[in-house]
Each structure stands twice: as C-alpha cells, then as structure tokens.
C-alpha cells in the first residue's frame, strides 16, 4: 500500500485549546465499526456545521492539547473519515497523537501559530513545514521519533506491521 502523500494543500478549519475527545466524538457514538457513523457526528457539539463545511483534503487546525481525554481511536478515525487530510496544532495529547499516526492521519505540532479560519495551507509532510499561503508565514514541525515517521509513511500501523511483521529494531538509546 502507498506511503503517505508528501505535500498537501487544504483550507484551515481552526479551533481552540483543549478540545477533548468527548467533544471530538461523544462516547455514545463510539460503539460502532461504521466510519460513516463517526463522520456524521464528528465535532457536532462544538460545531454542528463542521462535517458539512469540511471538504476532502482540508486541514483541521487546533491550539494546545488537542485530543485530550479518552483513548478512543474513534476520535482521529472520525476526523479522517469526514475528509480531513491532516491535523495541525500547537501540541497534541499523547494517546490522540499516537492514534492518529497509527491510522495514517498526519498530525503536525507547530507550537504557537496565527493560522485563521479559512486560510489556505500547504503542508509539507516530508520536511515538516506548514506554510500559511494566505499570510506567507511558515511553521516548522517538531520532529517525531523515527518509528512514528516510518509508521506514517507506511500509511498507518496496520500497513507497517503487515509489511514488516514486527517493529524494526530501534537504535538502543541513541535516538531521542
């Protein structure tokens, strides 16, 4: 299966800090395997128009601590299912970050930013650079561990493990 796209362009949908997983996809909707069901309800309490407004390829932009709360993988799945191509934020909650990478949804930490709703973004995944084409500002992503880069490039953990059968050996202690 293909590797992740190297660069993507999309419109920014901007939200604030501490968006928890109960708001991304309430628990009552998570008891399903149906991705369309998740897409139908993603972010509905925070923004009832979200799933109508998002076009495939758009970018969800957040502030601090996006995805805090539960471990539900349904949260990044719902975001991906509705068409979001990447999530950009100041930083992410831990489990959400891992889950997004594992399902092949790029998540990019850029620290404090000034991206506004509706701006056009160019996300260079290979080099970890987010360009706000509407303002000209560029943001550099924090580097993620190599194993995460490998998983994302494989298109997610299922692809990675199907391909390799196991984790490729991590360098002992010399990768930080």
């Amino acid at each position: 299966m293909g590797a992740a796209v190297n660069t993507l362009n999309g419109i920014a949908h901007v939200y604030g800090d501490n968006i928890d997983t109960d708001r991304i996809i309430p628990g009552k909707y998570t008891k399903t395997l149906d991705l369309d069901h998740l897409a139908a309800h993603v972010m509905e309490d925070l923004d009832p128009e979200f799933n109508q407004r998002v076009q495939p390829g758009d970018v969800l932009v957040a502030g601090d601590n996006f995805g805090c709360g539960s471990s539900r993988e349904q949260a990044p799945l719902a975001i991906k299912a509705v068409g979001v191509a990447a999530v950009v934020g100041n930083y992410f909650a831990r489990i959400f970050y891992r889950n997004a990478i594992n399902i092949g949804l790029p998540v990019i930490e850029i620290g404090n930013h000034e991206i506004r709703q509706g701006n056009e973004l160019e996300v260079d995944l290979r080099n970890g650079i987010v360009k706000d084409l509407s303002t000209g500002r560029e943001y550099e992503a924090t580097k993620m561990p190599q194993v995460m880069i490998d998983i994302l490039n494989a298109g997610g953990l299922v692809n990675y493990l199907t391909e390799h059968g196991d984790y490729r050996r991590a360098p002992t202690g010399d990768e930080r």
Binding site: D22, L33, G69, A93, I95, N102, L161, Y167
Partner: protein, 420 residues
C-alpha cells in the same frame, strides 16, 4: 545511575538501561481492551494478519462500557468480542463482572514492576501497585496482541510529594482532584507522575488506585504511587525511585488543611474547595467508575446515608466496580443500607460515566459524580453539567439535594472511613 520508577521498570524490561527521552521497544506483560476499543482492535489485528495472540494468557477482554448491551448494534459488538475470544483464548470478562481496571487488579493480571498496555485511557490506574501501565488506542493494542511488544518513549517524570496528614473527611479523591487543579489537564502531557510523601503511606490499595487513575486527567503517560506502606495480598518486590533521580519538576503540597475538592463544569482541572460550591442544586448523583466504586467508597456513602433517605428530587445511581465488590457489599450489609436510603444499583461497569446509557442526564440537569471526567457532553448530554467529587461528597449531596460537605453531616469526630 539514579533512576525514576519509570526508568527502572523500562530498563529492566528492555534488558538494558534506558533513560527519559530514549525510544525503546519493550515486551508487554499484560494487555487489555474493552467493548469500547476491542472491536476496532480486533479488526486491526485481523488486517495485520494476526492468527493467534502472542500469549493468550496475558490478554484480557472486558465488557464494561455498555454492559449489558443497550441496543442491537452494541449487542453485535459484544458478540464480535465473544467470537474472537472463543477463537483466540485469553481472559474474558462478560457483562456484570466489573470495570476493566478493577478486574485487572482483582484478578492479578497486572503485578508490580510489569509493563501493562490497556486500550483505555485510565490504564495508569495500576501504577497504584507499581506497574508501568499505559493507555493506548485500538490499533496499538492490536499490535501488542500480534507482537507482544510496544514502542515507547521513556517519559520524563514529575514528582509529587504530599506532606502532612490527610484530615478527616478528606479522601484520596480530594487529593488527586486538588492536584489536577494545580497541574491542569495538560500539566503532565507525555510525562510520568510519581506520587509520594508521608500523607500517602497509610493509604489502601483502593485509595492509591483512585490517585493513579486520575494521572490520565493531567495528560500523563503513567502514574506511580510510591509503594511505602502498600499491602498487597501476595509477596512483591517494591520499586522505589532512586535518591538523586532526575525529575522534570518536583511539587510539594501540605495536605493537612485540605478540604474536600470539587471539579466544576466543564473540565476536570476546574477544581475548587467544596466551600466555594456549597448549596449548588443537584438532580442526579453517581457513585461509580474506575476512580471510585470500590468497597471502601461504598462504605463512605453508607456511613452518610445509614437510616436516612436521599432528597426526593435526586436519583442516586451506584455502579459497584465489580461483582466482587458488589458481593462483598451484599454480605456486609452496605448494599442494603444504600438501597434503603434510596440508591439504585446498576450493572458493575462504567455506566453513566461515559454517556452511553444508564443515567444520561436531561437538559439543564446537574450531576455530582465520583468519576474522573466532566467535559461537556461526557455523560451523554452536552446541555447537562457535571461536578466531580469523592463518594462521600456524592452521598452527602444526594442526601441534601445540593452539594454538601460530608463533614457537615457527620461532624468531625464521627469519621470511620477506612483510608488506611
């Protein structure tokens, strides 16, 4: 080299020294998923080509988030889990056995010094007995089922020292709520927490679980309660942090004056002294969740409600943490006391904590809950408000119909609560 608890456990299991910041691939000693996370994990496992579990004896599946199934869609997800278990083996806890985290500890699926991976964010609960216990999502869990390993970044640790003596009327839940209020919901993101200090030394395992449980609410990867004073029903080797270990930060709090604490809507870190919210009307009271539904929590509630009736406006819903807890409560009369006071008992499971069923509040309803999260919509209705507190606060508030300090009901000299 001086090490934190996290560094020690990961070094031992990795087979060579690791320190904070290192990426390590480690063997997993135990794994668990619930009905909220197992269906996607099973799907991913099969897509990865999984044909058998790496070690069935180390795997547990639990039905607790929607137990019993409230509709046919969920009934079929439960069936999927049962079918998987029949093919693969492993441990299976069906409807009514209890909440996943309670069961992992009760049934000894996790031991001090082990690495445990759970597809549930409150997996850090087992740091109460000194396990490196980390919450993950479904696909990570599937990878563990397949390989028996996980990759982890060794976390930095924040050390918390609770000094002084916990005053009467204040519980472990109040301590951890206080801490969440101090550090915030992102205060320990990607880090481990160590909870230590003289105030914790006499705490029971149940109370330590309450504390470690809410490490998740500060964004932590795992939480450890210093094992000084910890009694387990088996011999174990306690793991202490080394003197001189490097911490990201150390915070000291004197708990001698600490009042009961309340997290007000709509975030677990909006923590106030109960004195600031006394009198807040409540409509529903919930004693349950992996945070606080053990026998000692039911005992606290029973002491406040013995011989009395809850406020006519209030429904008090209680979900004991496990069948074992429920049976112990039946035997020692606690359940009778609470039932006579007007409480209604539901299946041992997550119940209303996660908003799927069994106590979804109506528009404008105010809930006082012994659970761990009160984000808007958490209990299933974004137009309701949830306050978090100890089981004693929940019971006292159910009695009066408004947020009430349990000490106002009992008076300082009457507190019999076994926190020891």
């Amino acid at each position: 080299m001086a090490q934190t608890i996290a560094e020690k456990i990961l070094s031992r299991r990795a087979g060579h020294p690791v320190s904070a910041g290192d990426i390590s691939i480690v063997p997993v000693d135990g794994a668990m998923a619930t009905d909220a996370t197992a269906p996607f994990a099973i799907k991913a496992f099969e897509e990865m080509g999984g044909r058998q579990l790496w070690d069935a004896n180390r795997v547990s599946l639990v039905i607790d988030h929607a137990a019993p199934a409230p509709n046919e869609r969920i009934g079929n997800l439960h069936k999927l889990m049962r079918d998987f278990h029949h093919r693969m083996g492993g441990h299976f806890y069906d409807v009514g056995e209890g909440i996943c985290h309670q069961l992992m500890v009760e049934k000894r699926h996790v031991q001090p010094g082990e690495i445990f991976v759970g597809a549930d964010s409150h997996t850090p609960t087992y740091g109460a007995l000194g396990a490196f216990a980390v919450g993950v999502g479904s696909t990570d869990l599937a990878a563990v089922l397949l390989t028996g390993k996980i990759w982890l970044k060794v976390p930095k640790t924040i050390r918390i020292e609770f000094e002084g003596r916990i005053p009467k009327g204040t519980t472990a839940k109040d301590l951890i709520l206080f801490l969440v209020g101090q550090l915030s919901i992102s205060g320990a993101t990607y880090k481990a927490l160590e909870f230590a200090g003289p105030a914790l030394r006499e705490l029971t395992l149940a109370s330590r679980m309450t504390i470690a449980n809410m490490a998740a609410e500060m964004g932590a990867k795992s939480g450890f309660v210093d094992p000084t004073g910890l009694q387990l029903p088996y011999d174990y080797t306690p793991i202490y942090a080394d003197v001189g270990a490097a911490y990201d930060a150390t915070h000291r709090f004197d708990v001698s004056q600490i009042t009961p604490q309340i997290a007000i809507p709509h975030s677990p870190d909006r923590v106030r002294s109960i004195n600031e919210v006394l009198g807040q009307r409540i409509d529903q009271a919930f004693i349950g969740s992996c945070t606080n539904a053990r026998l000692e929590d039911l005992h606290m509630a029973a002491q406040l409600l013995r011989g009395k009736r809850i406020h006519p406006r209030v429904r008090l819903i209680i979900a004991p943490a496990s069948k074992q807890v429920f049976n112990a409560g039946l035997e020692d009369g606690t359940i009778q006391v609470l039932s006579d006071a007007g409480a209604t008992f539901i299946t041992s499971g997550c119940g209303p904590c996660v908003g799927t069923h069994q106590g979804v509040p109506g528009d404008g309803d105010v809930v006082i809950s012994s659970a761990n999260r009160n984000f808007r919509g958490r209990m299933g209705n974004p137009r309701a408000s949830v306050y978090l507190g100890s089981p004693a606060v929940v019971a006292a508030s159910a009695l009066r119909g408004e947020i009430t300090n349990p000490m106002d009901i009992l008076g300082e000299d009457n507190v019999e609560w076994e926190l020891r």
